[in-house]
Subunit: 224 residues, 4 copies
DNA sequence: GATGAATGAGGTTTCATTCAT
DNA sequence: TATGAATGAAACCTCATTCAT
């Protein structure tokens, strides 16, 4: 009746636009809720906040998991692009790497579900992982070409490092915000090409008993 | 024996033998289940696995939380003692620190719930945190006295570092077992007193904009 | 399908518009179950009888207590209105009071949970108590203005009297239905303005030692 | 067999004395707990307070119900005897009745489980009911013989009246202690032989429509 | 297409009673 | 015989997902 007034043709469009708007609203609300409370929230909270019914939500996302994945992929991707862009514009390769880590972790610190996903698999999806690896590859190569980064550090190492640091962010989020920067600082120092001892074999599951895991500086030390 | 000692027997009344056995069975089963599946398992699974009824379980542990806490505290403590003992017997302070990290993480790698607890608060209980800090203090002091460890690294830093590395262990447990050792290696290199740049203030929540977060080697560059 | 038949009337395939009907069904079933077995019944029994799932029940009433309260308030209110209406239409004030007691107790006699609530607090809710007091006030005033009711009888006395008589109803419900009317009769006689001895102070917690609790007729008696 | 041993072996006696002491302790503890919290308490609370184990408790009383019944019967009986004794020693029959009601209710006011039992069946057991009826018979007869009590009041009426008044006691126990005495006063006035209208038939379940339930005094009234 | 009520398995916890020590 | 740990059937409540309107 009242809907019939809508000009005949654009009815479809209007409807699709509506659907699209709904989808966006859901994603936005879900993003906020997931970021605040993690992935274990009640779906109703999201439906409520986005102003749609449960059915609508489940029409767009057949599963809570799907919704979560979609949200995370989107956030992850946009974040990756932004951060990579910034890194690209930084001339000094090391600074670029440093900034990238810093910004990545700052971003993660704000999103509980994203950290959870990071923690679980390192990325919200395979596609995301691929993109992420590409970015890391770029940063790593630049630094290694400049001789600033340990030559045997791999992309996987960097990924794992961020993953692990994201944990530090999460842990200290409430009580010691900012403490994670000290750990980051330490890790970055460890990445520097100043450290010449080769890293352990990536495939090995047992510690290298013969060689010391790290090489403490021979000539340095307060006691000497 | 060792387990009995941990509970600090007040000798008020001798617990019935089978009660103690049941308690042990519950703790063991819960330990296994929690380690495998994390803290979100059904309590019934634990009751089933330990061969006791629900009531028995709840007689010993009034709450699922209590059970989890008990199990984790026990595992954490025994692990801490063992690992610290090994570190004490190592003469070289740096090696002691290295081994401690190595063994801590190896242990954590096997226990999902323990990692969860570590992630959440850094330890399963305040008492555990205290003990943990004592151990870390010891290791840290030895290394710093020997001039091997950055002088401004704090106990909290070490704790956070392990927490964050435990994440790396967890992430790579299934697909890349052992890769976490590379990250550990990097982090330990970063801890070395060879790195002289001061760490950022622990209280600061914003990156230090003036000083570079890390000091890349001065004389290196792409052209070299 | 078979379930649908059990509920006789409504097609069980209704949903949205039937939310209200479901709610009514729940209230009705709960009313019956509570009336029969009191407030300590299993919620599942109510869900089963009303033909809805547990979730539906808990959607409408977040707590068993809520359900009970709703049911009782509803029954109490409807009963109060009906009974008061009848009393209003009776011209003779004393007859109105008498009928009101009679009908109130008849109603209570049929509802175990209602009696429980009455016993506990005199009414299922504060609002109910307010309404109830208003009705009693009305009845009492009419009777006292007509000089038929002891002048020092208060509304609280009447409430307490009904509460206590409801107990008599309950006690004799199964074995001696109707016996409570004799007690009611006696109580009403005691309320009559024929009895001139003042009632004990409402605040006093100890029996009035000086004056006899009741005034037996001096000059009457079989032996005289 | 077991009986034969009773002579020779004091060990048995000692044991039996122990058992008897335990039994007494259980009954005493149960009495206190039931009085305080009603019949729905956890059996463990009783075991704890009486200082015996669950097994011992269940050895003496195969069922919680049995324990409750035993306790109540005992309390009821001792109370009945005491109160009756006091009534017997009172010369004035009406005063005896009055005091009996007063004391009965005061006693009931202190015992939650007893009220529950009273409410449920009028007495904790058949035997108790018999004894109680005997006492009431005595009191009633004395009063009726003296022409002080309505001649058609039966023992059952008195019992029901107390039962119902016990409810009033319970209701006002916390907030309006003592208010029940006003109701009692009213009821006793209604019992007086001053009221000449016959009570309704005990067997009738329907109100007597022809005759008014009570007879308000024709000639009295404020307005006249 | 949108809505939100309905579903019901699954979670934790309690307690009368039994039974091994 | 006394003990109190063990039992396990309910009890209450949650929430991801479906489905009639």
């Amino acid at each position: 009746m009242t809907l019939a007034d809508q000009r005949a043709q654009p009815a479809r469009r209007a409807r699709r636009a509506d659907a699209e708007r709904n989808r966006a609203a859901i994603i936005e609300a879900a993003g906020a809720v997931f970021a605040e409370q993690g992935g274990a929230v009640d779906v109703r909270e999201i439906a409520r906040r986005s102003g749609v019914g449960m059915g609508t939500l489940y029409r767009h996302f057949p599963t809570k998991e799907d919704l979560l994945a979609t949200v995370l992929v989107q956030e992850f991707t946009s974040w990756l692009i932004t951060t990579h862009q910034a890194a690209r514009e930084t001339e000094d390769p090391w600074q670029a790497l440093t900034d990238f880590f810093e910004q990545s972790l700052t971003q993660l610190a704000r999103n509980r579900a994203l950290i959870e996903a990071y923690i679980a698999t390192g990325a919200p999806s395979c596609e995301c992982a691929r993109r992420r690896d590409a970015v890391y590859d770029d940063l790593r190569t630049r630094c290694q070409d400049a001789g600033l980064l340990r030559p045997d550090v791999t992309t996987a190492d960097l990924v794992l490092l961020i993953t692990s640091l994201s944990q530090a962010v999460r842990t200290t989020a409430d009580t010691q915000p900012g403490q994670w920067r000290r750990i980051l600082h330490i890790s970055l120092d460890g990445l520097s090409s100043r450290n010449t001892a080769p890293l352990p074999e990536p495939t090995s599951d047992t510690p290298n008993a013969t060689a010391p895991a790290t090489s403490p500086p021979e000539g340095s030390g307060k006691g000497e």
